[in-house]
């Protein structure tokens, strides 16, 4: 299926089965990574403590996805939270809605956030195939669509994240 290149924004078009790790509404950043681990700056090390206090069985395989309800990532500005998920090999987070700073942080570090009103239909352990803006639930035999990213943000994602986006601007300005 042909897709516009901008759609890599979201999730790479790679066939891969993912297990859903299901959470509820208002999952906060303290739940994702408790405060005592914020002295760690390395994604892989942080990943060892992701959801430690609230879901000790959280042991995702690379390519798995986190699924949640409303307001995922509310609370702190700690980028350690999306970093811990990225470090754990999480391919994307699918939720009905995201908290603002968490959403920004994820865009900035290249962890896809998929807003999907059908997120509630996905159960813990469901096998999903996430490709571009389509989520196929192989366990339930259902297909869901995700909301597109605002165009402005696609520009940042196309550049490869905020670091690369900022690098391009710095390079342009120094040439002047």
């Amino acid at each position: 299926m042909a897709r516009k290149t901008t759609k890599k924004t979201v999730v790479e078009n790679r066939r891969e089965l993912s297990r859903a790790w299901k959470f509820g509404d208002d999952v906060d950043t303290d739940a994702i990574i408790p405060g005592r681990f914020l002295i760690i700056n390395d994604a892989k090390e942080l990943a060892k403590h992701a959801f430690e206090g609230v879901r000790p069985d959280f042991r995702p395989s690379p390519g798995d996805v986190v699924v949640a309800g409303e307001n995922f990532g509310c609370g702190s500005s700690r980028e350690h939270a999306p970093l811990a998920l990225k470090g754990a090999g999480i391919k994307c987070v699918i939720a009905k809605s995201f908290a603002r700073i968490f959403f920004r942080n994820s865009v900035n570090i290249g962890l896809p956030m998929l807003e999907c009103e059908d997120a509630g239909r996905i159960s813990d352990g469901d096998v999903l195939e996430v490709e571009g803006d389509v989520i196929r639930n192989l366990t339930k035999g259902e297909t869901y669509r995700t909301a597109p990213l605002p165009e402005f943000l696609e520009e940042i994602v196309r550049a490869g994240g905020l670091i690369e986006y900022a690098r391009e601007i710095v390079a342009k300005e120094h040439k002047k």
């Binding site: 303290d30 206090g53 409303e70 307001n71 500005s77 700690r78 980028e79 700073i101 120094h174």
Partner: protein
Amino acid sequence: MSNDLTITEKIFSRASGRPVKAGDFVMASIDRAMTHDITGPLAVEGFYEIMRDEKEKKVWDPGKIIILFDHQVPADSLNAAKNHILLRKFAKDQKIKHFYDLHEGICHQVMPEKGHVLPGQLVVGSDSHTCAYGAVGAFGTGIGSTDMAAVFALGRLWFRVPETIRFEVDGKLGDRVYSKDIILKLIGDVGADGARYKACEYAGDAIRSLDMSQRMTISNMAIEMGGKAGIIEPDRTTEAYVRQRSKGFKLDRGLKSDKGAEYSEVREYDAGELEPQVACPHNVDNVVDVGKVEGKKIDQVFLGSCTNGRFEDLKTAAEVMDGRPVAKGVRMIVIPASHTEYMKVLKAGLVEEFMNAGALVESPCCGPCMGGSFGLLGPGEVGLSTSNRNFKGRQGSPEAFVYLCSPATAAASAIKGKIADPRSV
């Protein structure tokens, strides 16, 4: 479409150099950028990553960046000490004008206190409670470390100009009811995501009658309903506060929302009807009148944080305690929010009062609020706190329970050993 603008739209129009309205995406110039010992190290790494091909790896403006240590003070682990070293080196290499080491206090207290935040400014901080600067009429908002790295390099950042929810709070607060009770009530009503992506604007007689300390409490917690900012139109109270800290400051009288400005919602409240409020575990929007939880046994009381660690807060608490000791079996931790606030508390004799009551008085820092340092709660324990979050595991064990309240309610509860109505002691 009306040409009338909210204060938020006015600030973004100035910062982005063109007229903008809610919903527009902008690249806006940043007036001040603040980072601290938790989120700073990642921002520094990101900055050098952005500048990796540049010979001159210099920040956009060393006079507009403020770095301070407050979360892990003094360093509570080897990793924290290493992070402090990294930031000290960055501050030195980059000639950061306003670098505050262990001594000064919590970022959200120090920023307005030292005159680093002015009305009408666009201020970012890599801490979610940066919305506190709305108390002085600035658009303060929390960002992540990579965002901060981009700000260090460029001095500007992308934003979507937010819609505004206006909270009109009129009437007069009752005895021993404070701005903390107002904000807990609003959060309880609107919910943890009720103001998601939006600016919260607090207006009305009851808000205007608050001193700066109480305004800071109310702006501080906008993030707890998902808000991007928690702004209060600057007035004479703001002007008097800022003038003491920024020489020659003159308030722009036009810096307020126009009469016909468009809001996504306007909510009205009568402050006179408000009871002391308590947020119950494990969400900040799980708010009830104090009567509903009166008598709940507690193990620890924390009086402090960027929400309620100012002189006024500690003075209120001391007045409620009125020389009575902390109840047997209860630990009370008191932490003034900054060096300046500590000295005021000290001179007023309050440190002695708290110590004599059996409380611990610690040096200025975030303390147990983030659960990274000391004063943590163990499994099954119940904590009552004047801070801003009661998420599961926030202040230690995920099997602990945290309730949030005003300094007066915290003080009354400390002497009773259980959650108490501050009007009952």
